[in-house]
């Protein structure tokens, strides 16, 4: 993790989660990936977006977990859901059926055209590191209205070309969605612990649009595996509010407590 200077008492991870949470508007239906996306989505629900609809691929529709799930299918998700459907129904009716506004994903690798790799590092037939695989991501990325991505910034994660396109961003040349019918907008923002990036409307190459407080452009470049572009008018990401930090910390405390017992 790079050094980040901050005016207030919060971590870079908290900055990332709060920024990711703010991206979710109230009333959005969000297909939530486990881990960082789930943390951000629930923070949104507990702060500015009480009516955000959270959907997990385990079949839990409109769930309101008190504590963060460790897995995509924790009992907490079912117990607090409006209803729970089968996994085929989830992927067919709710995701493919076009009911999802935002797919919220994490990833192991991401490249300049926002393609995601969660399959493996190295060559497919002789992998250096075997990763878990695609899971829901390939179709979340194409069937959701748009996609938010959140992950920690590092040269290992932000690579010029992913080793394998598990999940389409904009393809190897940025043109992978052109002319494809019945497909969502794809990634519209990437939120890290350093900055916020968006794809260039023309070339689809990721552009840093906002630096988190205290973060420099050099730090972002240092943590990125290609020559990253910056927007002409680079914003400063708004800091977390006291309330956001309070709610996030309480959520993580409740979660730690709940999981410690098991």
């Amino acid at each position: 993790m790079s050094h980040v200077e901050k005016s207030l008492d919060y971590t870079a991870g908290e900055m990332m989660t709060v920024t990711a949470a703010r991206a979710l508007e109230n009333g959005t239906t969000c297909f939530v990936g486990i881990g960082l996306p789930s943390e951000a989505a629930n923070l949104a629900r507990l702060t500015h977006a009480p009516d955000v609809v959270l959907i997990y691929e385990s079949g839990t529709l409109q769930t309101k977990p008190e504590v963060l799930p460790l897995s995509i299918g924790d009992g907490e998700l079912c117990e607090t859901a409006l209803t729970t459907v089968s996994v085929p129904e989830m992927f067919r009716y709710w995701l493919q059926g076009g009911k999802i506004n935002v797919g919220f994903l994490g990833t192991a690798q991401i490249d300049r055209y926002c393609n995601l790799n969660t399959t493996l590092i190295g060559d497919y037939t002789a992998p250096k590191v075997r990763l878990p695989g695609g899971g829901g991501a390939p179709e979340i990325a194409t069937n959701a209205g748009e996609v938010f991505i959140t992950l920690k910034h590092s040269k290992r994660a932000f690579v010029d070309q992913v080793d394998f396109i598990t999940t389409l961003g904009f393809g190897r040349d940025g043109r992978g969605r052109d002319g494809v019918p019945n497909i969502g907008k794809g990634p519209t923002r990437v939120i890290t612990d350093l900055c916020v990036m968006k794809p260039d409307p023309e070339t689809r190459e990721l552009v840093v649009v906002s630096l988190h407080p205290g973060v420099t452009a050099e730090q972002v470049q240092e943590a990125t595996g290609w020559e990253i572009r910056f927007a002409e008018t680079l914003e400063s990401t708004p800091e977390p509010s006291a309330r956001e930090l309070e709610v996030l910390r309480a959520l993580k405390d409740r979660t730690a407590q709940a999981h410690a017992g098991q």
């Binding site: 897995s71 085929p88 067919r92 075997r130 695609g134 899971g135 829901g136 396109i165 019918p181």
Partner: protein, 272 residues
């Protein structure tokens, strides 16, 4: 018509070496007890199908039961990798394991199509993904009405499916409740099926549209109390998240793994 058997007898009768086996459970109701029985009986050359191979498939793979794994997400949920799966794929220990990987959407549709008696599933999927480059079972068809290019995958039709459920009645009708995953589809798609349950009751005591699988669509019911631990059974016991985290260290090391299997599976009875 479902026969109520011991877990030993159910596995001995229906799981043959070389069979294609789906042990399903989407985080919830994972059939650990049945998986351990498969390990104890030393089954070999299995093709293991599952959307989310987790610890029980890691254990089966490390114990040498698997020849091939068909899956869409192979990790320890919320923790990290499946080290036995990785060791088999990356280093060939205890022997080389072939993998065939899909996305969740495709596998969910493939289970659905298997249950629906179809040879293929059609979906809006795999657009721009490189998975079709490494899985020749992913093809594309053209819609005869719109001309749209759609993905197609073969349906899943296992020789035997094994799932865990909350309860069965004495006629072998089974109630699955909570996160139901693709369990019903796995049972209906398979040639044979085994359902382990927490208990056998007189009356399922349920509601008009519950997920109930009739006994005549199942081959064997076996009682396995706490049969999905360290996974969980909605209404019975919670997930043992701590074990999921502990597994990471056990599975990283071949010796630690071997010892764990020896102590907790091979030398344990059917209750393990």
């Amino acid at each position: 018509m479902a026969e109520i058997l011991s877990l030993h007898d159910a596995v001995a009768r229906y799981v043959e070496d070389g069979a294609t086996v789906a042990m399903e459970g989407f985080t919830h109701l994972i059939p650990f007890a049945a998986g351990h029985e498969v390990i104890r009986q030393g089954k070999r050359d299995l093709t293991l199908i599952r959307m989310t191979p987790d610890l029980v498939y890691d254990q089966l793979i490390g114990a040498g039961c698997a020849r091939k794994v068909i899956f869409s997400w192979g990790g320890n949920p919320g923790v990290g990798s499946l080290h036995r799966l990785r060791d088999a794929v990356e280093k060939g220990w205890p022997h080389k394991v072939e993998i065939l990987e899909h996305s969740h959407a495709a596998m969910a549709c493939a289970f659905e199509a298997g249950a629906a008696g179809l040879p293929l599933a059609v979906l809006r999927g795999y657009v721009g993904s490189e998975l079709p480059n490494v899985n020749d079972q992913i093809r594309f068809i053209e819609c005869p009405f719109t001309g749209e290019r759609l993905a197609a995958v073969p349906s899943v039709r296992p020789d035997v499916s094994i799932v865990h459920a909350q309860k069965a009645d004495r006629a072998g009708n089974v109630l699955v409740e909570g996160i139901v995953g693709v369990q019903k589809e796995a049972i209906l798609a398979a040639t044979h099926s085994i359902v382990t349950v927490e208990e056998v009751v007189d009356d399922l005591d349920t509601h008009p549209n519950a997920c109930v699988i009739p006994g005549w669509a199942i081959d064997a019911i076996a009682v396995a109390e706490q049969g999905s631990l360290p996974s969980y059974a909605h209404g019975y016991y919670p997930r043992n998240n701590r074990f999921y985290k502990e597994w990471d260290a056990i599975a990283r090391d071949r010796d630690a793994f071997t010892q764990w299997i020896e102590e907790n599976v091979m030398n344990a009875g059917e209750t393990a």
